[in-house]
């Protein structure tokens, strides 16, 4: 039997209601925003209801909910859009490549300058590290809410308040946080980017950019929007400005069902279910002297735990676990900055990541721990 502990990549399995929503969408919906005939109208209605439900979940307005292909797509829209004006941005030392690569590419082309704020176990120290990097030309802080490697939660609400005070844009990457901890535009996030297929339980190929409308985001792609078609430029209003081409109606249907599932289950229940598995995992791993756990006292975490075994390559451990049916991700997790910060490069060039979902169980967690114990 296969057990998925790689839910930080994509939650699997999906809730039954998500599967049903996908089946219904294939059978029932056409494109959206492309006509007034019944098939298109049904698609448009579904898309609007999805925007409404997602907006309510994040305390946003429906028209400021933009459907994207994934979180990377949303982050590229936000980062490249905001960077049009040039200037300086600050990212954290735990960023995924979906933040660091677009920033680096803009810097290499001399369109942007950037600094990296060190994240420590202390929220106040981390906040101070961000604050002291702010310059007169700083236009934004772009950072993850929770690391996809360690699960560490950054003091994102305080960072939001800092950005508000300094009148700079706050772009937050919610890929590992949304659906697991409460995240809202009321946290003074100007642009929230997130995946639809992780903690929100939609299908792959779904992501979201949710704006508070304060910062204009020029489009990266041009094309059909179903509105203002005679004009040579894209419309200048959301969501049409950033949604060139036919929308992923089936994905939006799945994401709506996923968000409703999370609401019904309750974020607190989801968090406690998954954290209890992480706590058990950590408790058992701490008893093994050769296991290195990337957790620090004083820090807060989403349900993700990374670890290494001294003298063993992370990929080798993950391969051995996979042979026994346990799916965990090893290596760099597309987040080399975080691995440099954790010094895993000096040990095994990466780490093994344990990330449960609300469908994971204690028995499977114990079986995994038993197996790792045999490796040590």
């Amino acid at each position: 039997m296969t057990v998925n502990f790689d839910n930080a990549a994509t939650t699997f399995p999906k809730p039954p209601e998500v599967r049903l929503a996908v089946e219904k969408a294939i059978a029932w919906y056409g494109s959206s925003g492309r006509g007034s005939h019944p098939i298109a109208a049904r698609g448009s209605e579904l898309i609007y209801h999805a925007r409404e439900d997602i907006a309510a979940f994040f305390d946003a307005e429906p028209e400021n909910v933009v459907f994207t292909a994934n979180c990377t797509h949303a982050l590229n829209l936000a980062i490249q859009g905001i960077a049009k004006q040039g200037g300086h941005v600050i990212i954290s030392s735990l960023e995924h490549n979906s933040v660091s690569r677009p920033v680096y590419a803009l810097a290499r082309n001399q369109k942007l300058q950037y600094s990296i704020a060190s994240v420590t176990a202390s929220a106040s120290e981390t906040l101070e590290n961000f604050a002291k990097l702010i310059r007169s030309d700083t236009i934004a802080i772009i950072c993850t809410i929770a690391s996809n490697v360690t699960g560490q939660i950054l003091p994102f609400r305080e960072i939001g308040a800092l950005c508000q005070e300094k009148q700079i844009c706050f772009i937050a990457d919610g890929a590992q946080a949304c659906g697991v901890i409460p995240v809202s535009l009321r946290d003074q996030i100007n642009i929230l980017c997130t995946a639809g297929h992780k903690g929100l339980y939609g299908i792959t190929g779904t992501g979201l950019l949710i704006s508070d409308g304060k910062y204009a985001i020029p489009p990266l792609m041009q094309g059909g929007s179903g509105s203002m078609s005679l004009q040579p430029e894209m419309p200048d209003f959301l969501p049409d400005a950033l949604e060139a081409g036919t929308l992923n109606v089936i994905g939006a249907a799945s994401l709506r069902a996923g968000v409703r599932f999370v609401k019904r289950k309750g974020i607190e229940n989801i968090y406690h279910t998954e954290m209890s598995l992480c706590d058990r995992f950590c408790e058992r791993m701490q008893k093994l002297p050769d296991v290195i756990l990337y957790r620090e006292a004083g820090a807060d975490y989403v349900p993700i735990v990374s670890f290494n075994i001294r003298g063993r390559q992370s990929e080798e451990i993950a391969n051995q676990l996979a042979k026994q049916g346990f799916c965990l991700r090893a290596g760099l997790h597309c987040a080399p900055l975080a691995h440099y910060a954790l010094h895993t490069m000096e040990i095994t060039e990466g780490a093994v990541r344990f990330s449960p979902s609300v469908f994971s169980g204690m028995q499977e967690t114990d079986r995994l721990c038993d197996l790792i114990k045999k490796f040590v």
Binding site: S36, Y48, S227
Partner: protein, 72 residues
């Protein structure tokens, strides 16, 4: 009937919901706007001033709002 032209289908659907909450039933139609192209409008039975007020107070950008010509 009043015809309210709105920037997008999303705005049209949001406006429709707000009007419904205030007792106005409306129909979303696609329209072709002069020199702009595809757009969306709401057809509503009611007083233009009150409808405009409701939409503006909900921060819905109304491009134009006018009485439809009698086609009889």
């Amino acid at each position: 009937m009043i015809r309210a032209i709105l920037p997008s289908e999303t705005h049209a659907r949001k406006a429709q919901k707000i009007l419904k909450q205030n007792g106005y039933f409306s129909e979303i139609i696609r329209v072709n706007q002069f020199r702009i192209g595809c757009g969306y409008a709401l057809r509503i039975a009611g007083e233009p001033e009150e409808i405009q007020m409701l939409l503006l107070s909900a921060n819905i950008p109304v491009r134009s709002l006018e009485r439809e010509r009698d086609s009889s």
